[in-house]
């Protein structure tokens, strides 16, 4: 051990004048100069948080964090947009809180149901140019993303032999209703490869009847494999690790190149994952809050319904 401590703190400095600790403690860095040096012209999130809790002035009380809720394990997949943007320099607790508040309010007004990439949905938006001031579109959800009020999903359908995609914002006030015609998941996160697949894979009738899912059952996973059209494609699908696609039947050189540019180590990069995702503890606390708010709004909604029913009688 003695050798170790010598390694840590080698005695290397040789001066003619002997100095000791206190002496060097007094030789403080020149702050005056440092003050004039350019520093970052914004504060760190932690600093702002500190000042928001500072006891030197009055601050609004934050609602207490919720820990009593029994949140189902897959709850976060139903409400992914409530998780904040994990980008470190854009985080702000108050902004996230206010944004979530707006989302709860909107969700209390219209019903945004549970859906996943691969579900078939019908969306009605108000359209001031159509004669009945409404526009309904049916399609398969090929992507879902965004955070907070920016959350969106994309529907795809083929009408009269023409592939059409529409992107909807989930909290857009022109959205009148969202209906899930068929609730299911696909094996991939994004279904953009349907653009390069034969049209029958993304053709859905507008007058499709909703297929009810029995309550309490798990969401079915559609393990269908899609046969893509021959090249050229919009993207190099062979380089993406797609599960829902049949064998691409390419020449070997494509696979070789794909193997060359692949980054198999990325999945082991723990910090990369951590930087790009909201961490578990924060995620849990937010989901607790979402669950509680959902419970409360559900109760209110049912009360309102019973009242309406009584009035009708």
């Amino acid at each position: 051990m003695a050798s170790y401590s010598r390694r840590i703190l080698p005695c290397f400095w040789k001066t003619t004048k002997l100095l000791t600790f206190e002496d060097s403690a007094r030789r403080v860095p020149c702050r005056y100069h440092q003050e004039l040096l350019p520093t970052r012209n914004y504060l760190l999130p932690e600093t702002v948080e500190e000042h928001r809790k500072s006891e030197l002035s009055k601050h609004p009380e934050l609602p207490p964090s919720i820990t009593s809720e029994n949140v189902p394990a897959d709850f976060r997949f139903v409400y992914p947009e409530f998780l904040p943007d994990p980008q470190y320099d854009r985080r702000d607790s108050i902004r996230e809180r206010l944004e979530r508040e707006d989302m709860y309010r909107r969700r209390a007004v219209i019903d945004i149901p549970e859906f996943y990439v691969g579900s078939i949905m019908a969306v009605t938006v108000s359209d001031q140019y159509s004669p009945n001031k409404e526009n309904r579109f049916v399609g398969i959800c090929i992507d879902r993303g965004g955070v907070g009020l920016r959350a969106f999903f994309i529907l795809r359908n083929v009408v009269d032999g023409q592939g059409i995609e529409i992107m909807y914002e989930m909290y857009n006030p022109t959205l009148q209703s969202i209906q899930v015609l068929k609730l299911e998941k696909r094996v991939d996160d994004k279904l953009y490869y349907l653009r390069d697949a034969p049209q029958e894979y993304s053709t859905f009738p507008f007058d499709m009847d909703p297929i009810p899912v029995p309550k309490g059952s798990t969401v079915p996973v559609n393990k269908m494999k899609v046969q893509l059209n021959p090249r050229p494609w919009l993207e190099r699908w062979e380089r993406q690790d797609l599960q829902g696609v049949e064998d691409l039947k390419l020449e070997q050189r494509f696979y070789d190149k794909a193997a060359k540019v692949a980054k198999p180590w990325e999945k082991y990069d723990l910090m990369k994952w951590y930087r790009e995702n909201t961490n578990e503890e924060e995620r849990d606390s937010i989901m607790q809050e979402v669950h509680q708010r959902k419970r409360l709004t559900d109760i209110e909604k049912s009360k309102r319904k019973t009242k309406l029913a009584e009035r009708k009688r």
Partner: protein
């Protein structure tokens, strides 16, 4: 399907400069699909030489839905309206798999009598399209 195939055969080689295909912008020399039932459009499609934009009548020189373009088709110069684009669109606006046009005559009346594919509902915003909109069978 036919259309995609013919696109694929002509997709490479002929172009000498980039038209930013990744953004699917409608600039000069962009290949368009004629979606009305005019004979000219049909002939162009069958010959495998689709209509090409040779001018966009707007300030940005990038065409969007509702813009008028000049196309070269079967050796002729024709005017046309864009009625569907491949480019990424704003929320609630449809994005099509192809860039669609409807040919018009010099006097402004459409060449064909029917539009075979859906047309974005937002086209109704402009009054000048009434002749074209009357041909459309379906709006999205």
């Amino acid at each position: 399907m036919n259309f995609i195939k013919c696109l694929s055969t002509y997709a490479t080689g002929t172009r000498s400069f980039s038209t930013t295909s990744c953004l699917h912008e409608i600039r000069k020399l962009a290949r368009m699909r004629v979606v009305d039932n005019s004979a000219l459009g049909k002939a162009a499609r069958l010959s495998g030489k689709p209509a090409r934009v040779i001018h966009v009548y707007n300030k940005t020189s990038v065409g969007t839905v509702g813009d008028k373009v000049l196309v070269a088709i079967k050796g002729q110069k024709k005017r046309a309206y864009i009625v569907g684009v491949k480019q990424n669109q704003k929320p609630n606006m449809p994005k099509f798999d192809t860039n669609n046009i409807v040919l018009i005559e010099d006097n402004g009346s459409p060449t064909g009598t029917r539009i075979t594919v859906p047309v974005p509902s937002a086209l109704r915003k402009k009054g000048e399209f009434s002749k074209i909109l009357s041909l459309a069978t379906r709006f999205v």
